[in-house]
């Protein structure tokens, strides 16, 4: 083919058979071709086609159908017939590739033929571009009443085919425009997610996060009615409501608890699991439900009412809202975790201070007491219990030996313990009557603490000249007195725990005399209740057996051995309470 011929072909898209069209008609055809080819405006092209053919062939009625899907054709333009036919969709199975004179067709089995006949159409012609039927043009009778001649039909064919190429071109442009718009819309959605993600990263409070979420629902999707729920204390609570009715009842929501993916309420109706919830949502105009998930757990829910456009929610809408919701819930969760971490940090700091207070209250060095050995140990737990022990010189002959356990843990226990130490040290030099002093300490503790705070306390005065030990036991674990002959006594005289109630009955005083080799072993419940990995206590029985075995050891050795045995018992278990022991041994 010569360049010239190829050029011609491209210009006209579909070669017009020049032999069958008279020269007088070529010029108008060329003009028509130029007009429709220069336009990408579909309505304009169709209008020009209809008006030109109707004018040329002197026809008063006509319409154009364009192919939609498969064999479905839609009436897109009509003249001389009711404009209400526009939009009518017809199925034309095996669409004819040449013109059809309708009066020769039987209507049997073909709706489209009867439809056209009703509109007084006489001839139908396909519009073919690149072997493909893009639509049909149909015309009524000529005004003159004469039938269509060969040259009429040839002109119709020429005009149809010229238009077909332009229609195809305009269709492609329309598709591109639609695709472009879809890309723009997706881009806008991504921008929205990015915009919110950026903002949510600032660690906003829940309220602000939800507010931005709803703005995006309003702005991006055009949702005018919605409810946003967040799970608080295991219950879905509405945190943002824009509804004409009351938000749905919690029972309705419970049935949505296992919702894992966004869903249309109309789809939930068919699912037994969600049927109940779906019915009550439908009743208040909710069309879609979107869960907010964290690790496969429903942490929030977005219920969506009608869209501004009244269009149903598309899968793409739901996916977008799902992403948006998850972005929001993750931000809310992150803020919560951050707050928790801060709170934990604060508690850790407090514990550290409590531990420092506690350690500061314990004697740093033991006084040297002629004829006696004294050894003490305190192993604080991570929680900081309220254990306390003390050895204070009262006079040349007398030493105060004390051990106590304050209820509770942490800062509260440490402060109460410091109170106890202060009153002990204040009273010790002046008070030689232990029961009276204990009563005063009890009354002080009662006055200064709440009902939930108390102290188990044991103290005594060791007289080094007489080798006697007078004591009061205020509800503390009974200390062991290990006699050198192998017998065991428990120091049980005293009275009520400190801090429970004002002293009514005076405390009782016990007195024992200590022979050479006798040992007093004082301890807190952290010792007897030290647990092994199966949850079994160390027990006082085991402690007693052990003490009997090692009763001849020095005070320090005795402590070390007991500690080792407890550690062996509680291996691999986190120490849950302070562990305190104090040993006094006559040498």
């Amino acid at each position: 083919m010569s360049i010239k011929k190829r050029q011609q072909r491209r210009d006209t898209h579909k070669p017009v058979r020049p032999t069958t069209v008279s020269s007088a008609e070529i010029l108008p055809l060329f003009e028509f071709s130029q007009i429709v080819n220069s336009s990408l405006d579909l309505p304009f092209i169709l209008n020009t086609l209809l008006l030109t053919t109707m004018g040329k062939l002197m026809v008063s009625r006509g319409l154009v159908m364009l192919r939609r899907d498969g064999d479905i054709f839609e009436v897109v333009s009509a003249k001389g017939v009711s404009s209400s036919v526009a939009g009518t969709r017809l199925t034309i199975a095996e669409p004819p590739r040449g013109n059809i004179l309708l009066h020769r067709m039987t209507t049997k089995g073909s709706d489209w033929i009867s439809f056209l006949k009703e509109l007084q159409q006489a001839v139908l012609h396909p519009m073919i571009s690149q072997q493909r039927i893009v639509g049909f043009i149909s015309l009524g009778q000529k005004i003159s009443g004469s039938g269509f001649e060969k040259k009429d039909l040839e002109l119709l064919e020429s005009l149809s085919n010229i238009s077909a190429a332009s229609i195809e071109k305009a269709n492609i442009v329309e598709e591109l425009k639609a695709a472009n718009r879809e890309v723009d819309r997706k881009l806008q959605q991504l921008n929205t997610l990015f915009d919110l993600g950026k903002e949510f990263n600032l660690g906003l409070d829940d309220e602000r996060v939800v507010r931005l979420l709803t703005f995006s629902l309003l702005g991006q999707i055009g949702v005018m009615r919605y409810v946003v729920y967040l799970r608080q204390n295991d219950e879905l609570r509405p945190v943002a409501v824009r509804l004409d009715d009351r938000p749905p009842l919690s029972e309705a929501l419970t049935s949505l608890d296992s919702l894992r993916r966004p869903a249309l309420v109309s789809d939930l109706h068919g699912d037994d699991q969600f049927k109940f919830g779906a019915a009550s949502l439908h009743a208040i105009g909710i069309e879609a439900a979107v869960p907010m998930m964290i690790q496969n757990e429903l942490r929030g829910l977005i219920l969506l009412g009608k869209k501004l456009t009244e269009q149903p929610y598309s899968q793409a809408d739901l996916e977008f809202i799902y992403s948006l919701g998850n972005l929001a819930i993750i931000s809310i969760e992150n803020v919560r975790l951050f707050r928790e971490a801060l709170e934990k940090q604060r508690l850790d700091d407090e514990l550290k201070i409590a531990r420092e207070i506690q350690q500061g209250l314990l004697p740093q060095t033991m006084p040297v007491i002629a004829g006696f050995e004294v050894a003490g140990i305190n192993v604080p737990s991570s929680q900081v219990g309220g254990d306390y022990f003390d050895v204070v010189k009262k006079s040349d002959q007398e030493y105060i030996i004390a051990i106590g356990d304050v209820s509770g843990k942490g800062m509260g226990a440490a402060l109460l313990m410091s109170n106890l130490q202060a009153s002990l040290r204040a009273l010790a030099p002046f008070e030689s009557q232990l029961p009276a002093a204990t009563s005063r300490m009890n009354d002080l503790t009662c006055a200064n603490t709440g009902l939930d705070k108390f102290i188990t306390f044991f103290w005594g005065i060791l007289n080094v000249e007489t080798s006697t030990f007078r004591y009061v036991n205020a509800g503390h674990n009974l200390p062991f007195l290990l006699r050198s002959d192998g017998s065991v006594e428990r120091l049980d005289r005293g009275g009520l725990i400190l801090g429970v109630m004002k002293t009514l009955t005076p405390y009782e005083e016990g007195e024992v005399s200590l022979n050479v080799g006798d040992t007093i072993f004082l301890f807190t419940d952290g010792v007897s209740e030290a647990m092994d990995e199966n949850g079994n206590d160390f027990t006082e029985e085991r402690l007693e057996r052990l003490l009997l075995e090692i009763r001849n050891a020095s005070a320090q050795e005795l402590l070390t051995k007991v500690k080792c045995d407890i550690e062996a018992h509680a291996r691999g278990v986190l120490q849950s309470d302070d562990l305190t022991m104090l040993v006094v041994r006559r040498t």
Binding site: Q188, F215, L217, Q220
Partner: protein, 119 residues
């Protein structure tokens, strides 16, 4: 920080809000406050001039949506003017021209409010 400013002026029974800069999730609360302030003082004829608005996100659009019902319930309206092509495209994408009247210039919009308070 994103740059966003709101200027408010009163004239001819219409409250004019001029937006400048980036209206996104971060700055949306500012516009929200501006609308809320107008509603609190019962000013329902609101004209938003977007001449210097360089960007609007869907959170920004959401603020318009959040207030339009209240405003119209009180016989007022929110009308928009002087949208740049870029900003208009976002409005258009999300179907806003169906809901809001958009004008080229302020003076075209000002005459279109229904109820004019007596001054």
């Amino acid at each position: 920080m994103t740059d966003f400013k709101i200027n408010h002026r009163e004239g001819d029974g219409v409250s004019v809000i001029e937006l400048k800069g980036y209206l996104d999730a971060h700055t949306a609360p500012q516009l929200e406050n501006a609308f809320q302030t107008l509603l609190n003082s019962e000013k329902y004829n609101i004209l938003v001039n977007c001449r210097d608005l360089s960007y609007i996100s869907s959170a920004g659009l959401g603020v318009f949506m959040a207030y339009i019902e209240d405003v119209r319930k009180n016989h007022g309206d929110i009308k928009l003017t002087n949208l740049s092509a870029r900003v208009y495209n976002v409005f258009d994408l999300l179907g806003f021209p169906l809901l809001y009247e958009i004008f080229k210039e302020e003076r075209e919009a000002i005459g279109r409010f229904k109820v004019r308070p007596r001054s």
